[in-house]
Symmetry: C2
DNA sequence: TAAAGATAGTTACCTGGGTAACTATATCGG
DNA sequence: CCGATATAGTTACCCAGGTAACTATCTTTA
């Protein structure tokens, strides 16, 4: 049974990477799920919570919670849309100001985690993962 | 920045696989973390909680909780060791009786998840993951 | 147009995994 | 031998993400 080992390793890798990211984000007062939202908003500008959920493949309830924490910290705004059910989420000026530092911290961690993992392997791994995931959805 | 995408895909894959496993385990009254413990105990016979933690790369507190749930369901026993700090964990007869059905359910899910993912890709992915993880620890 | 159904978001509650602080037992050094 | 230190396990509390049930707002349709 190869599969048990494959799943187990993947699970451990995922946990390990998340732990390292959280460790690095701690001094910034952020958590991994918050960073994921900030990262997407920085790229996309303004998205409804539904769009954020679809993009990050997360259910609505955890997204609500993550956004509420970001709102409380002053990093995100919820703007009511023309469709009154929707809430358009966007970064505040405060978040935009701090973004470069956050990004550099995250990039540094990522680089450290990939330091001794050859670029060719990274690309191969990325390709395999994307292929499998896409085939599963 | 390749790394963001790599980490994101890996995280999603891990979540997706865990969700599918939990879905399949639900009718059996088990959860993924419980199954992981049962799987290891079936192979190894009797382990202390520390050994289980080391094997599964999980901290002690979540392990305590998972084991307590298994004890409550009657699938696991905690036997005091010669060293009175230790608790040796082992499967009950009830668990051993049900194990074959559990295993077949899990194998079926795993097979379904890997169905259209070529064996060669599985091996390649497994190799890359193990290499990276080992290098990180 | 009024009623039925679909959709966005929230709330409550569950498991999974992490840290910090604690207890109890073992071990080691003076 | 006894006090200091290390280790196994537990408890309390945090975040991440899942489902079920709910509200409020569209959108269909009879």
């Amino acid at each position: 049974m190869l599969s048990h080992e494959l799943f187990h390793t993947l699970h451990q890798l995922s946990r390990h990477l998340t732990n390292k990211l959280n460790e690095a984000l701690k001094p910034l007062g952020l958590y991994s799920a918050q960073w994921a939202v900030i990262f997407v908003l920085k790229k996309s500008g303004s998205l409804t919570q539904k769009e954020l959920c679809d993009y990050l493949f997360v259910e609505a309830p955890p997204m609500t919670r993550t956004i509420q924490r970001l709102v409380k910290q002053g990093y995100v705004r919820q703007v009511p849309g023309k469709d009154k059910r929707e809430k358009h989420v966007q970064l505040t000026e405060e978040a935009l100001k701090q973004y470069p530092e956050w990004e550099s911290v995250v990039n540094e961690v990522n680089q450290g985690l990939l330091k001794e993992f050859p670029t060719s392997s990274q690309e191969e791994l990325s390709k395999l993962q994307k292929g499998w995931l896409q085939q599963l959805l």
